[in-house]
């Protein structure tokens, strides 16, 4: 099967590249090994300090509600982080003191939302907090099962009964100016968080839960849908296992499910992610890119790979595939002519492109521009 471009990896980087290439009239296929980092998405596009129209258009056209307001956002453990472009789910404030009295709502029996840590963090900022647990029939064991009190399971119930939560909160609300709710709303319908805000007579802030991320899964579904509406071919649950490279030009890639039916293209984009997605692989002796064996940018001395203090910045997170200014990689020093590398597989090798979601989006758009030029 032949396409203009084949993209290896269906996370944020792969989807943004796929969408923008389809918009430019190119035919593309994305090969995705299962789900991706969007399932752990905070809802905030990390390292994006500006709001380029091109990015806003992609989200708007996919029905993804974003807002741009440089400031800080509330983290799941009650701390704050500088942020600018976020999903509407995530509130952005000029300063951490976003309220005076806060009502924090949790669900009885739900352990993936840290209401008391949140309260502790906010009290440090001088806010007064009150925690209340809601008991909803829909979230009891016979309805939800024994093991699955998780964000997505709650969110599925909330799709039908979110109005009940609004009513309960209205009853509980005393003199608080702010209500904090867990991010478990609007899995199917992105407008629900906004409607909840309209229904509660106080400022409503949604705070992150343990994964899976409800806003992240919704975003992934919306982007994939948009990509398919634009005519893209998303091969879910397959894995690129090899590639044929002839005279430094990638001819095709081989996938596990399509085996001898190769995917051919003029251009190839490697968006296979970092260590978690096995875009990069480490063993006791080396770190490598398993598909093309591309040249890597990292320190060979294993003792320098990690920092013994777990919470510190870990050097291995900075390792990535070595590329030129056009994000083109090489093998044994020889450039591969029609291959581009985007997203977290780049590690911190291009600090100018940022990290996380920022890196995914910027590198995807840059490569789209190079390919369509």
């Amino acid at each position: 099967m032949r396409f203009d471009t084949v993209i290896v990896g269906g996370g944020l980087a792969g989807l943004i590249a796929g969408i923008s290439l389809q918009k430019a009239g190119k035919s593309t296929a994305i090969v995705s090994t299962g789900q991706n980092a969007l399932h752990f998405f905070s809802g905030c596009f990390e390292s994006i300090q500006e709001a380029p129209q091109q990015v806003l258009d992609i989200f708007n056209e996919a029905g993804i509600r974003v807002h741009y307001k440089p400031g800080v956002r509330l983290m799941p453990m009650g701390t704050f982080k500088e942020s600018a472009l976020s999903l509407d789910d995530v509130s952005l404030f000029p300063t951490p003191q976003f309220g005076k009295r806060v009502l924090i709502i949790n669900f009885m029996g739900y352990h993936d939302f840290f209401s008391s840590f949140l309260a502790e963090g906010l009290e440090k900022q001088g806010m007064e907090c009150r925690i209340r647990f809601l008991t909803l029939g829909e979230l009891t064991q016979p309805e939800l099962g024994p093991n699955e009190m998780r964000a997505v399971q709650i969110a599925r119930k909330m799709d039908d009964v979110w109005e009940k939560v609004v009513q309960e909160v209205r009853v509980l609300l005393k003199d608080e100016d702010t209500v904090i709710l867990p991010q478990v709303f609007g899995l199917k319908d992105a407008s629900v968080p906004t409607r909840i805000r309209q229904g509660i007579p106080a400022q409503v802030v949604f705070a992150g839960t343990l994964p899976p991320s409800v806003p992240g899964i919704r975003t992934q579904m919306q982007l994939k849908k948009r990509y398919e509406v634009l005519g893209g071919t998303y091969l879910m649950g397959d894995r690129v296992t090899g590639a044929h490279v002839y005279q430094d030009v990638v001819q095709n890639v081989v996938t596990k499910q399509l085996d001898r039916h190769y995917l051919e293209a003029d251009h190839f984009i490697l968006a296979s992610g970092s260590f978690f997605s096995k875009g990069l692989v480490s063993n006791p002796f080396k770190i490598y890119e398993p598909l093309f064996e591309l040249d890597m940018d990292y320190n060979q001395d294993r003792n320098t790979w990690y920092n013994p203090t777990f919470a510190n910045h870990q050097p291995y997170m900075g390792f990535g595939v070595k590329t030129d200014a056009n994000l083109q990689p090489s093998r044994k020093g020889v450039p591969v002519k029609n291959l581009y590398v985007i997203g977290s597989i780049l590690g911190e090798t291009h600090p100018e492109l940022g990290s996380g979601a920022g890196l995914a989006i910027r590198s995807a758009l840059k490569v789209t521009e190079l390919i369509t030029k």
């Binding site: 099967m1 090994t33 299962g34 789900q35 991706n36 399932h39 752990f40 064991q141 016979p142 309805e143 939800l144 099962g145 024994p146 093991n147 699955e148 998780r150 997505v152 399971q153 599925r156 994964p211 899976p212 899964i217 849908k225 398919e228 071919t233 091969l235 879910m236 649950g237 397959d238 894995r239 996938t255 596990k256 499910q257 399509l258 085996d259 001898r260 039916h261 978690f276 997605s277 063993n283 006791p284 002796f285």
Partner: protein, 407 residues
């Protein structure tokens, strides 16, 4: 120094279960978990449970029977853990209760087909009677809402055998693994395939006595019978493959069973034949890609919605059916968001699963009600029964649509 790397190759766990990072992606999408709280979910039933079962088989949990084996958890898993295989193999290995009479009856598609064919009109009339449905519901716990597929008075094998000579004329040949459904219930699909392949200049042969692929036997824990069928099928498939034939199929579930379940769940080695077993839509797409032409009618027009069956999704081959449908002039195609229809073979026929089955299917049915297609295209016969019963929209295999669109 690189010798040490081999160490990792030798630590690969059964069904890759140690690769599970507890990311919970599988639980976010499991169709059963969304509607049936009695099911512990793919993570708990699969890799989490496996750790316990390896320690002590008493940790086996009977509620694993609620797993549909749709394999969507495997499609979504970022770490390539064979979650559904873990669950199914645990059921085969640790569940010691003997399968019920009902389960045996439902699973024996081959046997029932042979029995019913000579008296097909009578069987069809009786299984359609409200009284008979009530009796099966009460006595066998086969849900009364279900409609049994009608039996054909004449088998597909009989039909094709009579055409052996005209098929032999074609210089290019394939073998066709038709499965029980085409043979006993719906020979027309087989006839449609023959029409399309003949139009491409390809003759169709039967295998030397195929048996049921055995998926229903596996789901109902009739391991011995399933293994017997698997060994038999691999041997007749080998015969065809050794003589240089490709084997085409029209059922996504039979295909997945022949290709994946035999080695994975039954321990039957199919490596000599696996690569030669192809869904007909893939075989035909590849022919057309290489330049073959089909004579399409000019006056064909149909609004079609394509439903990717779960096992087609797992095979990763939905793309071939989709692209093939797009090649048909006058066919207006909508590809549905891939969702399980809920029936999963014999699962949905069981009284205790009926409600779960219909609740799961709702995601798919609501899409169909919104689109109102003329026809639903799909590569699986049990999806066909479920969609037709639950929505009223007629369901056709892509091959039958292709046949209808030809001159």
């Amino acid at each position: 120094m690189d010798n040490g790397i081999k160490f990792q190759e030798y630590t690969e766990s059964t069904y890759n279960f140690e690769e599970c990072t507890k990311c919970t992606v599988c639980t976010a999408f499991c169709p059963v978990l969304q509607v049936n709280p009695l099911y512990p979910g793919p993570k708990q039933a699969g890799p989490d449970g496996e750790r316990l079962r390896l320690r002590d088989p008493n940790f086996f949990d009977e509620s694993l029977k609620y797993c549909l084996n749709c394999k969507r958890c495997e499609v979504w898993c970022p770490s390539e853990v064979k979650v559904a295989d873990l669950i199914q193999s645990a059921r085969l290995q640790y569940d010691t209760t003997p399968p019920k009479l009902r389960d045996r009856l439902l699973a024996s598609t081959d046997f029932m087909g042979k029995l019913a064919r000579p008296v097909a009109p009578v069987v069809n009339a009786v299984t359609g009677l409200p009284l008979a449905k009530t009796a099966m519901d009460v006595m066998l716990k086969i849900d009364r809402h279900r409609t049994f597929p009608k039996y054909s008075a004449s088998s597909f094998e009989f039909w094709l055998k009579r055409r052996r000579k005209e098929q032999a004329v074609f210089s290019e040949q394939v073998a066709y693994y038709h499965g029980c459904y085409v043979n006993y219930n719906y020979p027309q699909l087989g006839k449609d395939l023959v029409k399309v392949l003949n139009a491409l200049g390809v003759g169709v042969q039967l295998l030397d006595g195929e048996k049921c692929c055995g998926i229903a036997l596996i789901s109902n824990r009739l391991t011995k019978e399933a293994t017997k069928n698997a060994k038999h099928n691999v041997s007749v498939l080998s015969k065809a493959v050794e003589s240089g034939l490709k084997v085409v199929t029209t059922s996504s579930t039979c295909t997945l069973t022949l290709r994946e379940e035999y080695p994975s769940l039954l321990g039957v080695d199919n490596s000599a034949v696996k690569d030669s077993i192809l869904m007909a839509t893939r075989y035909i797409y590849e022919k057309l890609e290489q330049g073959a032409k089909l004579p399409f009618r000019a006056d064909f027009h149909k609004r079609v919605a394509y439903h990717t069956p779960c096992h087609m999704q797992r095979l990763g081959w939905g793309i071939f059916s989709e692209k093939l449908l797009r090649m048909i002039p006058g066919l207006e195609l909508t590809v549905l968001d891939s969702a399980c229809c809920g029936i999963s073979g014999t699962y949905g026929f069981k009284k205790e699963n009926y409600e779960t089955s219909q609740a799961i299917g709702e995601q798919l049915f609501s899409q169909l009600r919104a689109i109102q297609p003329e026809v639903v295209a799909c590569d699986c016969e049990t999806c066909k029964w479920q969609i037709e019963m639950s929505t009223g929209f007629p369901v056709m295999n892509p091959i039958s649509l292709l046949a209808e669109a030809l001159c």
